[in-house]
Amino acid sequence: MTQHAITDVEIPLERDQFMRSLISHLAATLEDVIGVGDATGFISLVGRRMGDEINRDYCRALALSQLSRPDVTQVLIDLKRRIKGDFYVIEETDDTIVLGNRACPFGTFVTGRETLCMMTSNVFGVIAAENLGYAKVVLEETIARGASNCRVVIHLRPSNEAEAANGREYFKSRA
């Protein structure tokens, strides 16, 4: 009788929810134990690996050795769509891609956990740099910091404007 009641009770727990909660707590614990700076560094390293893996997956699926400039924008939008983000193109030139985002894949767990934004920065940066040679990702506005939408600027060429922006640089790993 009790067993039946437990399995039927409404608990906000399923795999996706659990994984998001787990990541959020991991980030929080890291921030508390080793500080925001190193937690950011750690998530960046994980993000690099994720970016590399996702890039390889897309290249393999599209049967391409590398993605073109338009492909990169589409892949960035698409990968976020697949993990329940809602990214869109605000502006695009030869030198920059400006993306907006209405929904974070981490959901409400991201609020106050800016370190998790390093996942986006690194995944985007690695994919753009591996295919186009260089990227500098600037997280101008983030839901994690309390904004209603994210605004992410990706510089695709080293320039004075890119240099002046406060972001992270990524470079193609292969010669």
Binding site: L45, R48, D52, S173
Partner: protein
């Protein structure tokens, strides 16, 4: 700078041991920290990675292959042997494929160590180092690429210059021979009756000699040794005058658009030759568009040339920095691949079934003769833009010339190549 110099250039700046190792486990380079720790030379040739670690060869191979494949941080504990043969607990913290394998060079993996007992507060540092390392590699690669492009351009320029010298020399000697042929043919004609069979034969000799003279003239033009009848002109007027002829030449189905800068300054040009340049380029553009139709746009504008923009120019005339009038001919045609683009201005190179391949060679010679430059921007399937740059002529009033003409429109003089037998040459070239 060699590959290993490039490695030492940045790896020596970092405090932890870093080595460059082939995918088969052979060491190739060690930074200063690694040299000290393992008593290695800067570029070890006989040592293997398994001399430094206490792991099975199989595990080392797996590790290297994994590093090469992922090209990212590959943390994994491998016990490191120090120089005094004691074992310390260290782990690889970074692995990556630095250079992919080619037929003459194996894949190279870069490995960096840190002690396991170092405090965890290394993630931020690690990230910075990683970014720094990749930036160095990126900048080095970019510098190499720039050098490669400059070398390629230099080779191309030297090749075109050699061809120009050769073509000019051949055309010059050829002209002298043609002078004799034409002269004797004219003399023979005077002695022959117009209805006689030999008369017709000599007439054919004369006609062939004249065609050969035209060919020689084109070769001379390519060599930049042709005659220039210079006038101060506005390129817009010249382009507008040609519009009717150009439309006839390109035929139906192709739209010709003019986009002319109204404030264009005067340039000192040979109008007949520049007309030939425009005509050749527009006809070429039309042929690139072909039957499917499209648009050719003729644009004039001012351009400031500096040392950076000169790098993009296809031909090198030692353009001095300054103002240039640009004439760009853009087509929506098939574009060109790199091979065609590089050989475009070579004499006798043609992608057409019929064609002598002298049209664009002549364009090159004419532009060279005007101390100008040419820029090609092309993409297969998207079209081509050929831009001719001609130096802006200084204000005629301030020009430092002993015999400067009194008015711009009256300026008209001839530049002749200095040649001992230029009169003979003029006789031969109609």
């Amino acid at each position: 700078m060699t590959l290993y110099d490039q490695f030492h250039h940045f790896a020596n700046l970092l405090p932890e041991p870093i080595i460059l190792v082939c995918i088969d486990g052979k060491l190739r380079a060690a930074n200063r920290a690694a040299q000290q720790q393992f008593h290695l030379p800067a570029n070890p040739t006989h040592q293997q990675l398994n001399d430094l670690v206490d792991e099975s060869a199989e595990r080392i191979t797996t590790f290297l292959h994994q590093s090469a494949r992922t090209r990212s941080m590959t943390p994994g504990a491998l016990r490191l042997r120090t120089a005094d043969q004691s074992h310390t607990s260290r782990s690889f913290v970074e692995g990556g494929l630095w250079y992919p394998a080619t037929y003459d060079s194996p894949a190279l993996v870069i490995i960096r160590w840190r002690s396991r007992d170092e405090p965890l507060k290394t993630f931020a540092d690690l990230n910075e180092k990683l970014t720094s390392l990749s930036r160095q590699m990126f900048l080095r690669e970019r510098a190499n690429e720039q050098q490669r492009r400059m070398d390629e351009r230099l080779r191309h320029v030297q090749k075109l210059e050699s061809l120009a010298v050769l073509a000019g020399g051949v055309a010059h000697d050829f002209n002298n021979l043609l002078t004799s042929i034409l002269g004797y043919a004219e003399l023979a004609l005077l002695d022959l009756h117009p209805t006689s069979a030999p008369y017709e034969s000599v007439m054919q000799i004369r006609l062939s000699a004249l065609r050969a003279a035209e060919l020689a003239r084109q070769m001379l033009t390519f060599s930049g040794r042709g005659r220039l009848e210079l006038q101060l002109l506005n390129l817009n007027e010249l382009s507008s005058e040609l519009t009717y002829l150009l439309r006839v030449a390109i035929g139906n189905g192709i739209t010709l658009q003019l986009n002319l800068d109204p404030d264009l300054p005067l340039v000192e040009i040979d109008p007949a030759l520049i007309r030939q340049v425009i005509m050749n380029l527009v006809v070429n553009a039309a042929e690139a568009i072909g039957e499917r139709g499209g648009t050719i746009t003729l644009t004039t504008r001012m351009e400031q040339i500096d040392s950076a923009t000169e790098q993009d120019l296809l031909i090198d005339n030692d353009l001095t920095a300054g103002l240039y009038v640009a004439l760009a001919i853009t087509d929506t045609g098939s574009g060109m691949n790199d091979d065609v683009r590089m050989r475009l201005f070579e004499p006798f190179f043609s992608t057409k079934f019929v064609g002598r391949g002298l049209g664009l060679a002549a364009v090159l010679g004419i532009v060279r003769g005007h101390h100008g430059g040419i820029r090609i921007e092309t993409e297969v399937g998207h079209g081509t833009t050929v831009t001719i740059l001609l130096p802006v002529t200084p204000d005629p009033v301030t020009r430092d010339r002993p015999a400067a003409p009194s008015s711009a429109t009256q300026a008209n003089h001839t530049i002749m190549p200095l040649s001992a037998d230029h009169e003979t040459q003029n006789t031969a070239v109609p």
